[in-house]
């Protein structure tokens, strides 16, 4: 069926070794020989058989990206960034969805498909810090993403959660807002995005000399629009006063904005709002939503680079690396300074 190296070799009048050399950019080939081979390849429309190459070399040119869900804009945009970064390196990406389920996350990373990829980009959600040891027996090169596992057995790339939340809070403080809601907390969580972002919020308040008010913490079950909405409803019902909202992701901010608007609260005049993640949608809502851009492209590029390095030298016992990408405060209408 398909043309093989032998066909190309015959066409070019060389051995298959020479064809292989040309394909793999082996430097010491006479220019003329190389040209003949390349002509033959073009003429026959030859493509190397990736299975054969994979069998022989142990490399497939495919990496796996495990994320909770693609329907979530944050992960869709992350996947986009990862695919572009991987593409530049000649790698294809197989995406696997874990639905944020602990069992499925473990199943995936130990599954058959993972044996067949060169490396794994693993955005953990269901697993926690205590599960880090469960990843120790994963032999495939792996880079962890997200906030669930720090100091695990592998390289780790993520954003500066605490600093980002601190900057978001400071952004509202700089406008004179003093009663700032933190929306999206998870009860009792210290690590994980919610815990880290709450810490950043508290740090900003402390540095500004503002007392922490428990009543301004809006808790949610998950980071969805609906949760932002219901948490904001509770806050409004409680009667607590506030003039700013730092939401721990954009969807929560959007859900909360909707509820506030229904209640006749003007944004940003009455309440300034800033979200987190800088998903595309923030540019198009009413009002447009200020946000923290987490350094998505940097995360993707560094993660792919780390992974490539691990793949290239699987035996080198380099200690796990940690990379925190640079974030950016993006100011939009929802936190624009009100006219004096």
């Amino acid at each position: 069926m398909a043309t093989t190296m032998h066909d190309v070799a015959r066409e070019a009048g060389v051995s298959i070794k020479t064809v292989s050399n040309v394909i793999n950019d082996y430097p010491y080939i006479r220019a003329e020989t190389k040209q003949r081979v390349e002509d033959a390849i073009a003429k026959l429309g030859y493509h190397p058989n990736l299975s054969a190459r994979g069998l022989r070399s142990g490399r497939t040119g495919v990496i796996s990206l495990i994320i909770p869900v693609l329907r979530n804009a944050y992960f869709a945009e992350l996947a986009d960034a990862v695919m572009r970064a991987a593409g530049k390196e000649g790698l294809s990406v197989i995406i696997e969805q874990s639905d944020g389920d602990r069992e499925r996350e473990l199943e995936l990373v130990h599954g058959a498909r993972m044996q067949a990829v060169d490396g794994i980009l693993y955005s953990v959600l269901g697993l926690g810090e205590d599960d880090a040891h469960l990843l120790e027996d994963v032999t495939t090169p792996m880079v962890l993403l997200g906030e669930r596992i720090f100091h695990g057995p592998s390289d780790h790339v993520t954003m500066q959660n605490t600093e980002g939340a601190k900057a978001a809070t400071q952004h509202l403080l700089a406008q004179g807002r003093r009663r700032i809601v933190a929306l999206g907390a998870h009860r009792g969580e210290v690590i994980g995005s919610a815990g880290l972002r709450l810490t950043g919020y508290q740090q900003a308040l402390a540095e500004a000399g503002i007392d922490f008010d428990e009543r301004l913490i809006g808790e949610v079950g998950g980071w969805f629009r609906s949760e932002g909405a219901s948490s904001m409803k509770q806050l409004l019902d409680s009667g607590v006063e506030f003039d700013g909202v730092v939401a721990f992701n954009d969807l929560i901010a959007l859900g909360a904005m909707r509820v506030m608007q229904e209640a006749g609260i003007r944004i940003p005049d009455d309440v300034a709002v800033i979200g987190f993640d800088d998903i595309d949608e923030t540019r198009y809502t009413l009002p447009t939503l200020s946000s923290i851009e987490p350094g998505r492209d940097e995360i993707a590029e560094v993660a792919v680079r780390f992974l490539k390095e691990r793949i290239a030298k699987p035996d080198v016992e380099l200690p796990p690396r940690e990379h925190l990408s640079a974030f950016r405060v993006v100011e939009r209408e929802s936190s624009a300074v009100a006219a004096p």
Copy 2:
């Protein structure tokens, strides 16, 4: 390094053929033998080498999904549905983004990676009907998605665009709306989602005995939020009166809603709005957006099934099949009947 079939065979005291038989669910194996092999597999933590299997059998267990962009919620949700459908069939999915670019779409489908997958799910955007012949030389089994190429050389799965748009329009007509805007038209396009949906809109008007008014057609350059917004601005500036909007996708509807709300138009009281695609976000906007659910899961499942059949019988010259999934009108606040 990794354990092979030989290791398993030795451990179980059988030949590798028997191991292969067990793995591939060959029926005629003694239960006891099968058990011994399975125990050995579990004990050694054996996983078949997919490259070797691929080399030998010509199947990789991987299909490719080519879509314009993952950041677009419609395609993210489609990819999600496809991955779930493929997963059920034991297939992994490599996603490739074309950015809707004609050259890149062609490049991808003819590229090296496509030779290495069992089949291609190809959501065309840049190519047109006249380019169908460019796909004839694609030997990998392929199923087309989307509205650009009908009657191409491969199976084709998509939604009922015309009927969906007609139903959307009828939904507004049933509420007594008579001046209905069609938002999202592409000048001169007949085929393609925009053309088909415009046709459905016109059919609904004609059947209701309402004259088609050119001034109620809102044209856009692309189906983005920003385009919906600017097209709606033009309509408002033009001074034309209307009481309903059928938007050709949800993002356009959302962009338009924002502009109308800024202009003080109440939805649905003054203007009823219905979109297309039923992306997750429609459940959370203010007001929630009515939409046409295109039968996403059905599209994904049928497409994967078609592809699997083509992969299983690559030589059978079955003529290209066409499947149009069932859609559904989802009524939400944006087109709720106003209180009398």
